[in-house]
């Protein structure tokens, strides 16, 4: 009885233990490569500089990189204007996505019953939206924001396109935050005579704020990583933007451009990639920390 199957479980076990190996291996290789090549851009060229001075030199180089403008199509100089553009695009994105997302989430979870037909339609379209490839968003953004609305290649268009992309994520996070608030809170509020809207604003949202903020941060994380949606909406220009109507390049587009179109741009591409990944890690860690600290507050309250 046990003997017949004795080889199979072992085979499966082996497979399970083996599976993470190539995954972890390849990814750690990628990370290591990123850090080494990316960090290599900041390493002091002058080998005589050692010890504390080298740390200072590295810090200087990093700051220079983060603030200076790109030179010679990005082979030299830094990514200052690009960071500014990226920041502006993100700001536009969040400014638009947050109210719409929050409003929709409130509507879906507080005002519409589970079976409501409109609610289901909205939910289904959000699901589809979440799966749409980013390049298609780029196409849509180009056709709608750039052409139809006449925004041309601009930060505004890019931000709006990103807002569309980030919306399903935000709504889902917010909804989950709302759902986490126990039904009893709504009952207690109702019994005390709170109107529907009061309940939402004074009782539910404060308690769901965790889910909302986490969703926001994750949305930012997703938006920062986006490239394909921005190529035809926010443009390629690597100068410092002067207004939201100006074209501006995001960090990920910069990386793409440097590696594909600029011979010799690989070094700075790697450095930019390092900056990008580090910021993403910071974003994700802070989201996590926030979530954890909130949980602690709920439990201990002193």
């Amino acid at each position: 009885m046990a003997r017949r199957e004795s080889w199979f479980p072992h085979l499966f076990d082996t497979c399970v233990w083996l599976a993470p190996v190539p995954i972890a291996g390849l990814f750690l290789w990628l990370l290591g490569d990123l850090v080494i090549r990316g960090g290599g851009a900041f390493w002091p060229v002058d080998t005589e500089v050692t010890g504390i001075r080298s740390v200072i030199v590295i810090a200087e180089q990093i700051i220079h990189f983060l603030t200076a403008s790109p030179v010679r199509a990005g082979r030299g100089g830094g990514i200052g204007p690009i960071l500014v553009s990226t920041g502006l695009i993100l700001t536009v994105c969040m400014f638009v996505a947050l109210p719409i997302g929050l409003g929709t989430a409130i509507l879906l979870s507080e005002f519409l019953a589970e079976q409501n037909r409109f609610g289901r339609l909205v939910r289904r379209s959000l699901d589809v939206l979440a799966g749409v490839p980013s390049i298609v968003f780029g196409l849509f953004g180009n056709a709608f924001f750039c052409r139809f609305l006449g925004l041309r290649f601009s930060i505004a268009a890019g931000g709006l396109t990103l807002a569309c992309m980030v919306l399903p994520l935000l709504i889902r996070s917010a909804e989950e935050g709302f759902r986490a608030v126990p039904e009893s809170q709504r009952q207690a509020a109702a019994a005390l005579g709170f109107s529907r809207w009061s309940t939402v604003f004074r009782i539910i949202i404060p308690q769901a704020s965790l889910g909302i903020v986490v969703g926001l941060i994750l949305g930012i994380g997703r938006a920062v990583a986006e490239t394909a949606a921005l190529i035809f909406t926010s443009g390629y220009v690597d100068r410092m933007p002067r207004s939201l109507g100006d074209s501006g390049r995001s960090l990920s587009i910069h990386i793409y451009d440097l590696s594909m179109n600029v011979p010799g741009g690989n070094e700075n591409a790697y450095a930019s990639a390092l900056v990008l990944v580090v910021s993403l890690v910071v974003i994700n860690v802070s989201a996590r920390k926030l979530a954890a600290s909130f949980l602690h507050r709920e439990v201990s309250h002193t």
Binding site: Q187, A190, G193, S198
Partner: protein
């Protein structure tokens, strides 16, 4: 005075309460008795229209508070819930400070003057016997209180609006005996200014505190009113055989 007439409550196809007609005299404590599933909570929920929160719920028959028809379309539900307060089985406090838990309902109903608010809050806390225990911790989270204190805070929160009626759904079932005693004592004191309706599983409690009792029983097709009258009379010499059996612990 609250009256229900032919009150029937349905959730979808299921009948929770069937054809119940009751009168609750002002400034009395009425105990609603009966086993699980006999519609006691539904009855309570209909009195302050909390049934509105449940989409599949349908209410037939009428509920009147003095001259106000509770379920009429024009009835101001917010005003209704100002007059009728509710306490749940487990204390449901907002995750905020003690002070804010008490202030929020007041602000919601239009009271803005800070001095007036503080006054009302202090008065109510004294009334429920919590003032000495919490006066130094008003800015701490309400969730740091013990079970009994939390339930009393819930009572205070409902009382701060000065309701004419209080609906209590097994208010002591989650509390230890000492806290239960404190709450029961409080309820008896409140009788002088409020009409109280208490759903309870605890027959001894009903006997201890209530003036009148109503006994609900369900055969599976909705809770019906079996008997209703003075508590003492019902316990000592019940009219219905079913009531007697329940009170003696033989059924339910």
């Amino acid at each position: 005075m609250i009256t229900t007439k032919n009150l029937t409550i349905r959730y979808g196809d299921k009948v929770a309460l069937r054809d119940v007609s009751l009168t609750f005299e002002p400034c009395t404590i009425t105990a609603i008795l009966g086993p699980s599933g006999s519609g006691k909570t539904s009855l309570l929920a209909s009195l302050n229209r909390l049934t509105d929160l449940i989409p599949s719920c349908r209410v037939d028959g009428s509920v009147r508070i003095d001259d106000m028809d509770v379920f009429e379309r024009n009835t101001d539900v917010v005003e209704l819930r100002h007059r009728v307060g509710m306490i749940f089985q487990r204390p449901i406090l907002f995750p905020m400070t003690i002070r804010r838990n008490l202030e929020l309902p007041l602000r919601e109903h239009g009271y803005r003057n800070q001095t007036l608010l503080n006054e009302k809050i202090e008065r109510t806390l004294v009334e429920v016997g919590l003032w000495d225990e919490v006066k130094d911790r008003m800015e701490r989270s309400a969730l740091t209180l013990s079970g009994g204190q939390q339930q009393r805070l819930c009572l205070a929160r409902a009382l701060v609006l000065n309701p004419e009626m209080m609906l209590l759904d097994e208010p002591c079932s989650a509390l230890d005996p000492v806290s239960t005693g404190v709450v029961e004592e409080l309820l008896v004191r409140l009788r002088t200014k409020c009409t109280l309706i208490v759903v309870t599983h605890n027959l001894a409690q009903a006997r201890r505190i209530s003036d009148k009792s109503a006994f609900l029983w369900s055969e599976g097709d909705g809770g019906k009113l079996i008997e209703h009258g003075e508590t003492r009379m019902m316990f000592d010499s019940p009219r219905e055989a079913l009531t007697e059996a329940y009170l003696k612990g033989k059924v339910g």
